[in-house]
Amino acid sequence: MDDPVLTLSRVQFALTIMFHYLFPPLSIGLGALMVLMEGLYLRTGDARYHAMTKFWTGIFAVNFAMGVATGVVMEFEFGTNWAAYARYVGDIFGSALAAEGIFAFFLESGFLAVLVFGWDRVSKRMHFFATLMVSFGSIFSAVWIIIANSWQQTPAGYHLVEHDGVVRAEIVDFWAVVFNPSSMNRLTHVVLGAFILGAFFVMSISAYYVLRRRHLDFARKSFTIALVFGAISSLAIGASGHFQAKTVAHTQPAKLAALEGHYKTGAADLSLFGVPDSEAGRLNYAVAVPGGLSFLVHEDFNASVPGLDQFPKEVWPNVPLVFQTYHVMVGLGAAFIGLTLLGLFFLWRGTLFQKRWLMLVFVVAVVGPYLANQAGWVSAEAGRQPFVVYPKVSWTEDNPPRPRMEMAKGDIFLKTADGLSNRKVVGSDQVIGSIVMFSVVYALLFAVWVYVLNSKIHHGPEEVDKPPPASTKPGDLVEAAARLANPAGFSLTETHRDRPDAQARED
């Protein structure tokens, strides 16, 4: 890439979208868990579920604000840096974005008010409804942006029209745009990835409390809910990934070949590790299951899968980047399944919370879903290159069928390089300026966010008074007496180190 503005604009987009993507998945995952917890509160009346929901809401609010702040940037960025792309696909991509705003953003941002600030102002039912609406809004938001992004990968429901010498795509069939070949698979996958992040996030903090022997009741309950949620999501995402890959095999065969490091057409191995070498056209140091990819795509270990050799080099993506990020994601996905199933096993045995080594693993494991979500997206979007709107792929009548990217005049596709804003208007100095600005601002925000998160975790959830145990044993009587006379937070049975830090005075 010799064009500095192109490289800079791509770097800026990568930077802004990857930073943004730290936050919405947690909103989606944590929001869903909050619905579960508050639902349990409504059903059981147990105040501890109420305290749980309140604690996670505090973290949710900060995360949500970061998501909003970094999200507005994305909407503007399509226009500021990618004006030609905006003109080409505005009918379609812009419509999905506008729908996202009208149906989802208003809903989640509006009801967020009641969720975060309305605990004392509305009934329990109304508050639960607000939590539900925020969660639904966050998922519905994902729906529209995934529809838009999927349309870039597998365009449908459009026709190309020329106005004043400029070609653009216009909607022909709205439902075909919405249900384009890849959107539903990708949506499922993204939302499950968010659920996994939410689950591991809750488990991480809960495991931390277990290790520090604080808020044990809260920690165990939160952990258990999140563990079940995470296990189901981890298993489901494996299946969802498989179906998604089958679609990619049919609609974006060059991307599949890059994901798997498959250079030569023929029976394809499923590589577990490797280092792709595009110069030589082979995968070095490969550890692979022979015929594995052929089996996954065609249910036949000997079936032929098109390699990158079917396509001219100028439409190859950056194979090493696509390959490695994809394998990071899949590897982590397998680890999530293993870890959550292990956790479920010990939960069933009743020994989960005594296994301190496993609790420590779960504390650290939250990094996994963050990494997996980002790696998956890098792989998907870098695999789309060099296109910003991917060409249709047709298959010949041969045996085995050969793919052909349709890139004639009148076919829909747009190369990323051709999507840039006019260079006279947006030059490299401006883009460098905005990259520096975002880097500085985002670095500051990231530091503050981690700091505030850490602070909230240390503060912990509010303790809910439990009724004293019905017992006459001496130790229990002391405990009972201590808890009854506990207005100022002293305890006759817990040492100072066990107590949560004194509440920061709010008034």
Binding site: V62, A65, M66, V68, A69, G71, V72, V73, E75, F76, G79, T80, N81, A83, A86, R87, G90, D91, I92, F93, G94, S95, L97, A98, G101, I102, F103, F105, F106, S109, G110, F111, L112, A113, V114, V116, F117, G118, R121, M133, V161, D164, V166, E170, I171, S421, N422, K424, V425, V426, Q430, S434, M437, V441, V448, V452, S455, A504, E506, D507
Partner: protein
């Protein structure tokens, strides 16, 4: 071969409605931010932030939907304007980022330095965002260097973006939102603080009035082509007259101790300004200072008719829900600010 004029005008009107919604709603959020450093005590600063705490996020969505709607309905205008205004829009983004996160972060620590930093950020960001919005509007009224290819012929330089006219409109926007915010604060505060806010209402109204007169004269003398367009639509002068009445009603309502009536009047004033801004552009989305034939008309910049109809369905389906639950949420948070356990 292009969409029928009706659906395009419908979308121009929807954009106007969205922009009006944003200006009226986030107008008081930004106004509260502009006034934030006028109070010194921590407790009072908390009151100010919590007056908009539950509402600012939902209000900001109006801007996001406005942006999405321009993208969907008039993509060529979206592309030309957003790339042409690259640097100001980047600055707006930073301002909006800090406006939002400063409220979230401020209360999380007790240290004076931490709180002062986020207070200053909140005020500076709100002021900067408002000023930039006004400057962009000023530039649009004045006309932009739009070339034959539908893009600006060059990216506007600093003195183009912040020349006398756009800067005046920028300052006018700050005064307007400050006034609007102070009336909102008067409705939401009580006791000694509210008495002080009463004084702010008068001060901000005075500054607003002066800048209104200056801006109006400036607009009518240096941007004659935009005003001459009003000749084609003489009924627009009725809006101007109604606006003057609304503006006059603000001090009247304040002195009659009917602050809600004053708030309605300042909302109507903002709505009128947005409407008039739209009319200076109509039937264009962007007016070219290079050559009138390069104007980006509604017809030239609009999406296909199918898209506009689909989007109309989306809007007609979605917006009634939005208005209903937004009104409900405002009602839940009615009354004076109560700083409690869950506040900022």
């Amino acid at each position: 071969m292009g969409p029928s004029l009706g659906i395009q005008i419908f979308w121009f009107a929807i954009l106007g409605a969205l922009l009006t919604g944003y200006a009226v709603l986030d107008g008081f959020d930004l106004g509260v931010g502009i006034l934030h450093l006028c109070v010194r005590k921590d407790a009072e600063r908390r009151v100010l932030m919590n007056s908009i705490g539950p509402l600012w996020d939902g209000n900001e969505v109006w801007l996001v939907v406005f942006g999405g709607a321009i993208f969907a309905a008039f993509p060529r205008a979206y592309a030309a304007a957003f790339s042409g205004f690259y640097t100001p829009f980047m600055m707006v983004l930073v301002a909006l980022i800090f406006r939002g996160v400063s409220m979230e972060f401020r209360g999380k620590q007790d240290w004076p330095l931490w709180r002062t930093f986020w207070d200053a950020a909140f005020c500076a960001a709100s002021t900067l965002a408002t000023f930039l919005f006004g400057a962009v509007v000023g530039n649009c009224i004045h006309g932009l260097p739009l070339g034959a290819d539908g893009d600006f012929v060059k990216s506007p330089g600093f003195f183009d973006l912040f020349g006398w006219y756009p800067t005046t409109i920028g300052l006018f926007a700050v005064a307007t939102f400050a006034m609007h915010g102070s009336i909102y604060l008067y409705l939401k505060t009580e006791g000694e603080l509210q008495k002080r806010v009463h004084g702010w209402m008068w001060t901000t109204f005075g500054i607003f009035l002066i800048l209104y007169i200056v801006s109006t004269i400036f607009t009518m003398t240096t941007n004659r082509p935009s005003i001459e367009k009003f000749r084609d639509y003489p009924w627009v002068w009725a809006v101007v007259a109604l606006n003057v009445l609304a503006i006059a009603n603000i001090p009247r309502a304040i002195s009659l101790n009917k602050p809600f009536y004053a708030f309605i009047s300042s909302s109507c004033t903002i709505a009128a300004f947005t409407f008039l801004f739209g009319m200076t552009l109509f039937p264009n989305m962007i007016v070219s200072t290079v050559d009138p034939s390069y104007d980006l008309t509604l017809a030239k910049s609009a999406s296909s008719e199918t898209t506009l109809w689909i989007m109309a369905c989306v809007a007609l389906l979605g917006m009634p829900f939005v208005l209903t639950y937004t009104a409900t949420i405002y009602w839940v948070f009615r009354g004076k600010v109560q700083v409690g356990k869950f506040s900022y």
